[in-house]
C-alpha cells in the first residue's frame, strides 16, 4: 500500500524513448488495477490523451513528487475509463471519443463534448473518420443534466454574449436569483489544433502552440518547445532558458494585472480596471520593445528563443519593474481598503480545498484553496531551479483569495524578473533541432496554472502527435461548483476570477 507511483508502475514495460519522465505500457487488466489503485492513492491526474491505438495518462505522485505516464492499448475501440476515480478525466474522455472514437468503458458521462454535430466527419483524428449523418443531433439537442424542484427555472447564457468575450454556453438552473446548478457547454472555438500540428516541423508546430490561447502565448510555446526538446533529447542553451523565463514572468504579470482590473470592473469598480490597464499596457509595450511583439508571439522556438536582448533592452525591463512596483503597491492599498469591493468579493464563489485537490486544479484557483502545486517548483525546469520565490497560499477559496494570489504573484514575478536580469548568462540563444524520433513531456507554469504538453516526434523529426493540456481543463468544472448557492448576478465576477481559457480547452 505504501508504494509510490514509480514503484507501483515499475513492473510494467518501460518505453525507452520517452523523456524526461518514464512512460510505462500496461495491458488493460493492469490499467484497471492502476485505476483502482488511484482511488486511494494521492496521485493527481495531469492529463489523459489518445493516440491512434493507445490511451496515455500522466500522473504525479503528490507525496513523492514523481511524474510518470501510463499507457494502455485501445482494443476494439475501447479502454477502461479513468473518470470514476478522477472527475477531471470526464471531459477528457468525452474529447477522446469525439476526436478519436475510442470509447471509455465505465465512463461517468458519455455525452459528446467538442463534437456539436456540425463537423463534416465524426472522430476526425482517427485513421477512419466517418461522415456525420445529416440527421445527427446538433448542439441544440444536447441533454443538460437535470435539476428538478419547485420554482426552478433555467437561464441559458451564450455562446454569444453582450460583450466581446470568448464564446461559451452556460445553463443555469435557478430559484429566483439563487443558482441551483450551472452546467457549461464549451467547444465553440474548436479549430483542430492537434490535427493541424501533425506532420509539421517542430518550428511550425510551435507557431500553432503559441496560438492555442493568445493570453498564454509564451507559456504554451514554452511547454511545446520543452516537450519537443525532450523528445529530441537536446537542451537549449542557458541564455535561452533565462530569456524564456523573463518572457514567461512578463506574461504572467501582464495577465494578472489585467485580471485584477477586470474582476474589479465586473463589480463596476472601474477605477482599478483603468489603473491596472495602464500598468498592463506598460508591460505590453516593454514586451514589444524587448521582444518585438506585445504578446511575445513566436519568440520561443524549439531549441531556444528567436531573438536576443541587448543592454538597452535590459534597461527597459529594469525600468518597467521599478516603475510598476510602487504604482502597484498603491493600487493594492486601494483594493484592500475599498469596503464596497470587499463586500462583493469576500465569500463569493467559494471552492472547497477537497474539490481543488480532487481535480488537481493549479494556478490561482488551486492556490486560493490551499493547493500549492506550482510547476516551476514541483519539477523545476531551468532557470527556476536556481531561483527562489514565495508561493502564495490562501485557504478561503473565494474570489477575494484568487485576487490576492494574483497580487502576490505579480510581486513575486517582478522580483523574479529582477533576479533573472541579474543572472542572465551569455552565450548562444538557440541550438538546431536534430531529426530524431522520441517522445517528450513538459510541465510549465503558465499564468493560469500548470500546462502539460506531450509531443511525439517521428524519425524525420516531425510532429507525429501533440497534446497540449491547458490548465483550464481542471478549473472549468470547479467554476460550476463555485457558483452553486451564489446568485446569478455574481456569476460574471466568479467567472472572471477563474478566467479559464475557452480557446485553450476547445483546441
Amino acid at each position: 500500500m505504501a508504494d509510490d507511483l514509480l514503484t507501483y508502475l515499475a513492473p510494467a514495460t518501460i518505453v525507452t524513448w520517452h523523456r524526461p519522465c518514464t512512460r510505462f505500457e500496461l495491458d488493460q487488466p493492469a490499467w484497471r488495477l492502476l485505476v483502482e489503485r488511484m482511488a486511494e492513492a494521492d496521485w493527481s491526474l495531469l492529463g489523459l490523451w489518445a493516440d491512434v491505438d493507445w490511451i496515455h495518462m500522466a500522473l504525479r505522485d503528490e507525496v513523492e513528487g514523481g511524474v510518470a505516464v501510463a499507457s494502455v492499448p485501445v482494443i476494439d475501440g475501447r479502454y477502461p475509463a479513468v473518470s470514476p476515480v478522477r472527475p477531471g478525466a470526464i471531459r477528457l474522455e468525452r474529447v477522446i471519443r469525439d476526436l478519436w472514437g475510442h470509447e471509455a468503458d465505465g465512463a461517468v458521462d458519455t455525452r459528446p463534448w467538442l463534437d456539436h454535430g456540425r463537423w463534416p466527419d465524426r472522430r476526425p483524428l482517427s485513421p477512419h473518420p466517418v461522415a456525420t449523418p445529416p440527421d445527427a443531433p446538433t448542439a441544440e439537442a444536447y441533454a443538460f443534466l437535470p435539476a428538478t424542484g419547485d420554482g426552478l427555472h433555467q437561464v441559458p447564457v451564450g455562446p454569444i454574449h453582450a460583450g466581446i468575450i470568448e464564446p461559451g454556453h452556460f445553463r443555469f438552473t435557478a430559484n429566483g436569483e439563487t443558482v441551483v446548478r450551472l452546467e457549461a457547454r464549451l467547444g465553440w472555438l474548436h479549430k483542430g489544433i492537434e490535427s493541424l500540428m501533425q506532420g509539421l516541423a517542430p518550428a511550425d508546430a510551435a507557431r500553432l502552440a503559441c496560438r492555442i490561447s493568445g493570453d498564454s502565448a509564451v507559456a504554451h510555446a514554452l511547454a511545446f518547445a520543452r516537450a519537443a526538446e525532450a523528445a529530441a533529447d537536446i537542451r537549449p542553451p542557458p541564455r535561452a532558458d533565462w530569456l524564456r523565463a523573463v518572457m514567461a514572468e512578463l506574461e504572467r504579470i501582464a495577465n494578472h494585472l489585467g485580471d485584477i482590473g477586470a474582476i474589479c470592473n465586473d463589480v463596476a469598480y472601474a477605477f482599478m480596471s483603468a489603473e491596472c490597464g495602464v500598468l498592463r499596457e506598460r508591460c505590453l509595450r516593454a514586451a514589444a520593445a524587448c521582444f518585438g511583439h506585445r504578446l511575445m508571439f513566436d519568440r520561443i522556438v524549439p531549441g531556444g528563443v528567436a531573438g536576443d536582448i541587448d543592454a538597452d533592452q535590459v534597461g527597459v525591463l529594469r525600468r518597467l519593474v521599478h516603475g510598476i512596483r510602487p504604482a502597484f503597491r498603491k493600487l493594492i492599498d486601494v483594493y484592500d481598503n475599498q469596503a464596497s469591493l470587499a463586500d462583493r468579493l469576500v465569500g463569493t464563489g467559494t471552492v472547497r480545498p477537497e474539490l481543488v485537490h480532487r481535480f488537481a486544479a493549479g494556478g490561482f484557483v488551486g492556490r486560493a484553496s490551499l493547493r500549492a502545486v506550482d510547476a516551476r517548483k514541483a519539477a523545476p525546469y531551468p532557470p527556476y531551479d536556481k531561483l527562489d520565490w514565495p508561493i502564495p497560499l490562501f485557504g478561503e477559496g473565494d474570489v477575494n483569495a484568487r485576487v490576492w494570489v494574483r497580487i502576490r504573484e505579480v510581486e513575486a514575478s517582478l522580483d523574479l524578473i529582477d533576479a533573472l536580469l541579474d543572472g542572465l548568462p551569455g552565450g548562444p540563444i538557440a541550438v538546431a533541432m536534430p531529426a530524431r524520433a522520441g517522445e517528450g513531456l513538459a510541465l510549465v507554469e503558465g499564468f493560469r496554472g500548470e500546462i502539460m504538453t506531450w509531443v511525439r516526434l517521428d524519425a524525420a523529426g516531425r510532429v507525429g502527435r501533440c497534446h497540449p493540456r491547458d490548465p483550464s481543463w481542471f478549473q472549468w468544472p470547479l467554476l460550476e461548483a463555485a457558483i452553486e448557492g451564489n446568485i446569478i448576478a455574481d456569476f460574471p465576477v466568479c467567472n472572471k476570477s477563474f478566467n479559464c481559457s475557452y480557446a485553450g480547452v476547445d483546441l
Binding site: 437561464v155 454574449h161 453582450a162 468575450i165 436569483e177 463586500d343
Partner: protein
C-alpha cells in the same frame, strides 16, 4: 407667456438630456484617467440608432414595439411637470408630486412588461429586478413627498418651489434627511452604480439593460432617450425641491435658464464622481440601501410632526 415657457421647456429638456448623460460619461472617463468620448457622443449614438432598422423578436407581441414610444411619452410628460428654469409651467400645475411618482411608476411598469414580452431569460431577470427596486424605491419617494408636504402644506411642485423661494425655511434636519433619501431613490431609479451599472456588458448583472437587451434601432433610440430624460427629470426634481434658488416665477429672468443648466451640469458631475468611487452592490443588498432611504424619509416626516423646528 407661460405656454411659451412650457414649449421652450419641453424642447429644451429633450435637447439637453443626451448632453447631460454624455457629461456624466465624460467626467467618469476623465476621473479614471481615460480620454473618454466627447459629451455630445450620445447625440451621435441616437442618430446612429435612428438610422438602423430595428429587429424585433418573433415571439414578441404588439406591446413590444409600442412600449419604447409609450415609455418615452410618459417620461417626457413627467419631465414637463417638474419646475425647471421657471415654476410657472401649465403642465406643472396639472399634477402634483404624487402624480409624478405615478407617471414614473407607469413608465417602469411598461418597460418591465416589455422585458417579459419576448419571453427571453434576460428580459425576465431584468424585469424582476427592476420591479424589486421599484417596490423599494417608490415608498421612499412618497415619504420624501410627505416630508415636504408637511412642511409646505402642499404636494404641488410649483407651489413648493415658490414657497421655498419666497420664504426660505433655512437649514432643516428633516429636509437634509429627505435630500439623502431622494438622492438614493434617484440613483436607484436611474440605474446608476451601486444599484445598476449602465456601462456593463455582463448580461447577468444587468437590471435596466437586461430588460431592453433585445431592443435595437429606433426602438432602442427611444428607450435610450427616455433614460437620458429620466436623469434630467430627477436632477430637475432635486433642484426644484431643495435648491430652487434662481428659478423664475411668472416673470422670466435672464439668469434663470443658465442657472438651471448649470445646476443640471453640477448634478451630472457629482453623480459621475460618486460612481467612480464605489463598486456595485449585490442584488440582495438593494433592500438595505433603499430601506435606508425609506427610514430617512419616515424619520424626516415624523420629526416634522414632533416639532416644526426640525
Amino acid at each position: 407667456m407661460t405656454v411659451i415657457a412650457q414649449v421652450v421647456h419641453l424642447v429644451l429638456i429633450v435637447a439637453l438630456a443626451p448632453a447631460i448623460t454624455g457629461l456624466v460619461r465624460w467626467v467618469k472617463a476623465r476621473a479614471l484617467g481615460r480620454a473618454g468620448p466627447a459629451p455630445w457622443q450620445p447625440y451621435r449614438d441616437l442618430r446612429r440608432l435612428m438610422l438602423k432598422t430595428p429587429i424585433v423578436a418573433e415571439t414578441s407581441g404588439p406591446l413590444y414595439t409600442a412600449v419604447p414610444y409609450l415609455q418615452l411619452a410618459a417620461i417626457w410628460l413627467a419631465a414637463a411637470m417638474v419646475p425647471a428654469f421657471t415654476y410657472d409651467l401649465p403642465l406643472a400645475q396639472a399634477g402634483d408630486l404624487i402624480v409624478l411618482a405615478g407617471i414614473l411608476g407607469l413608465s417602469r411598469f411598461l418597460l418591465a412588461l416589455a422585458g417579459l414580452d419576448a419571453g427571453t431569460a434576460f428580459g425576465g431577470i431584468g424585469s424582476s429586478r427592476e420591479l424589486m427596486i421599484g417596490a423599494l424605491a417608490e415608498p421612499a419617494m412618497l415619504l420624501v413627498v410627505f416630508t415636504v408636504a408637511v412642511l409646505v402644506h402642499t404636494t404641488s411642485l410649483p407651489a413648493i418651489s415658490a414657497h421655498f423661494i419666497a420664504q426660505p425655511v433655512g437649514l432643516r434636519v428633516s429636509l437634509g434627511m429627505a435630500l439623502v433619501a431622494i438622492v438614493i431613490v434617484a440613483v436607484a431609479e436611474n440605474g446608476r452604480i451601486p444599484i445598476d451599472n449602465p456601462a456593463t456588458h455582463l448580461e447577468l448583472t444587468m437590471v435596466h439593460e437586461a430588460m431592453v437587451l433585445d431592443y435595437s434601432g429606433r426602438h432602442l433610440a427611444a428607450i435610450e432617450l427616455a433614460s437620458m430624460l429620466k436623469l434630467v427629470v430627477w436632477l430637475s426634481l432635486i433642484q426644484a425641491l431643495f435648491v430652487p434658488f434662481g428659478m423664475a416665477g411668472a416673470a422670466l429672468t435672464a439668469l434663470a435658464l443658465p442657472i438651471f443648466v448649470a445646476k443640471l451640469a453640477a448634478g451630472a458631475v457629482a453623480l459621475a464622481l460618486f460612481e467612480v468611487g464605489i463598486a456595485k452592490m449585490r442584488v440582495f443588498r438593494y433592500p438595505e440601501f433603499l430601506g435606508g432611504a425609506v427610514v430617512l424619509g419616515m424619520l424626516a416626516t415624523i420629526y416634522l410632526y414632533v416639532s416644526h423646528g426640525f
